[in-house]
Amino acid sequence: MVDQTKSRIIEKNRLTELLDKLAQDYHLIAPVRDNNVSFRRVESGSEVTLDYINTVLSPKNAFFPQTETLFRFSRDDSRGFRTEPGAEADREQVIFGIRPCDARSLRLMDMVFNGQYKDSYYLDRREKTTLIGLACFDPAETCFCPTFGIDPASGEDVDILLSDIGDRYLVEASTEKGAALLDRFAEFFAELRGDEEQLREARKAGLAGMKKLDVSAIADKMAPLYEGDYWDSIGMKCLGCGICTYLCPTCHCFDIADVSLDEGGERFRCWDSCMFPEFTLMASGENPRPNRKARVQQRFFHKFKYFHDRNGELACVGCGRCLRYCPVNIDITQIIEDVTSGKAGNE
């Protein structure tokens, strides 16, 4: 149901103007079309495209950049070093156009970066970000987010949800942060006309046939597959590239390294992938995951068992990127089906 008090509409022809305004007051991150559609920092509304199903790169870059300075260091007068932490998110940021699946992935990432040790870089950015989501009414054939209890038309994990209902967007704030932003830019939003709910329901028809797999018992069903041949054929096919993990909105593994410049340098972290052999290679030369099979296995066990054991959730949001962009067409939905149906155990 549309909450009349917190909901507004914005005419489509006023959106660019709103984005211009947002770009002035915030770091605005929105989908941009270049060689592909990806979330980027934009300076004006005209750079933004909304003609896409989902971006190639998830917006995780905005919270957990591919390369991020942890701290800088410089030699002091004695034999020591001075250290100085990396840049904090200096301004509030707005992510515009995030899809419900990607928004859910942030909730999963929070579980990693929060906890006993708090990752201030990620959490700080998270805190300073307002999420403006875009409801998904035309999912791709590779989408399967309902599998994980995600409603592609819902604003559950965002601050504000926009739903395209033809000539205008229905705008719903679902958090205080979202409501505050709507107030701040009140001039762009108008009162509901009354037919919004109906228009939205009509658009939801496109979601009826979406793939929804039963994953209720997947973590338990993964356990016995640790031994056995199921992963052989997938490991055989896998090229060991980092596409699936880099594009995945829930993959969070990173490496830490130093750069040394004349009288100092910096320590940075950058995305890393469990698909790469050096990921677990120890200085001694030993590698606990020595082949592609072991690495592929780790990826799926992490998603469907290990993460679940630790955090009570599955580490997948059904965005379909790994399937869509895998050069050898490794199909995560097929793997889920094989595991849950018991087929994987019989191979």
Binding site: F71, V112, G115, D124, I256, Y306
Partner: protein, 275 residues
């Protein structure tokens, strides 16, 4: 912004004691405003040691918290970072993060006999336990230390053996894979030596650390000798980076070695996947 978990504290190398041709024990103090930075840890924990400009690596703490004057790390030259550490000199600065990970259950071990089995540089984390129990000698029963290395030249902490042997109700059993003319002790692999010594499992807890292949056969031997898997404790090595359970590479099944380990009982290991 809250506390930065990736920012190391600066520390000063007070001394570097060569143990073998490629192992050095670094004695380190944490720099603090008053010159004595606090660093509270327990035996079995590790720290992330940095040489700024080169990198960072997890290193187990060799010293005992009962001797708080300095922290010690015994480090073998194996990779980029450990090589850089060996190039340093006393009074040079390094970075320290931690302590991280869990620790040996010394409190639960009170009143029991201890069987400490080490191989090569694997004695480093065990030395923390050894010194710790020596400093609380009355709380523990008989202590047997079985230690082996490839050759007499590869034994670490040799300068301390006399002191260790002099401690009440304590025996140090040394073995090497290959002896030389001067070596008068036992020659043979640690698991074989362990069988020969034939320690009783009664009221005894065994803790072991060493190369994976040694650990595997030591565990086999301990099982034969009748040690239950709750009473076999080991400490594991994995490639670690962040030390705080974020970077995702040190897991064995759903356990992160850096958070849930590095110390595990055999019983816990048996419940994990085999990689």
């Amino acid at each position: 912004m809250s506390e930065n978990i990736y920012l190391p504290r600066m520390a000063t190398i007070q001394s570097m004691r060569p143990e073998t041709i490629d192992v050095t024990t670094f004695r380190v103090t944490i720099d603090g405003s008053d010159g004595t930075g606090k660093f509270e840890y327990k035996s079995g924990q590790f720290a992330e040691v940095s040489v700024l400009g080169v990198g960072e690596a997890p290193i187990s703490i060799t010293s005992s918290p009962t001797r708080p004057e300095a922290i010690e790390f015994s480090i073998r030259r194996v990779g980029e970072l450990t090589n850089a550490l060996h190039e340093l000199e006393p009074l040079d600065k390094i970075g320290i993060r931690g302590p991280f990970g869990n620790f040996f259950p010394l409190e639960e071990m009170e009143g029991q006999n201890l069987l400490i089995i080490g191989g090569g540089i694997g004695l480093a984390p065990l030395r923390s336990v050894i010194l710790n129990v020596f400093d609380n000698r009355a709380k523990y029963g008989k202590i047997d230390i079985i230690y082996g290395a490839r050759s007499p030249q590869d034994l670490v902490f040799t300068s301390e053996y006399k002191e260790w042997q002099a401690v009440d109700n304590t025996r140090l059993h040394l073995t090497v894979d290959r002896g030389d003319e001067e070596w008068k002790g036992n020659v043979g692999l640690v698991p074989t030596f362990l069988r020969e010594i034939n320690p009783s499992p009664e009221n005894t807890i065994s803790i072991t650390c060493g190369p994976p292949i040694m650990i595997k056969f030591v565990i086999e031997a301990l099982n034969e000798l009748g040690f239950s898997s709750e009473h076999i404790i080991t400490t594991l090595e994995r490639r670690m980076k962040c030390g705080v359970g974020k970077c995702g590479r040190c897991n064995i099944g759903s356990k992160y070695v850096c958070l849930d380990g590095p110390v595990f009982t055999l019983k816990q290991l048996e419940e994990m996947p085999s990689d």
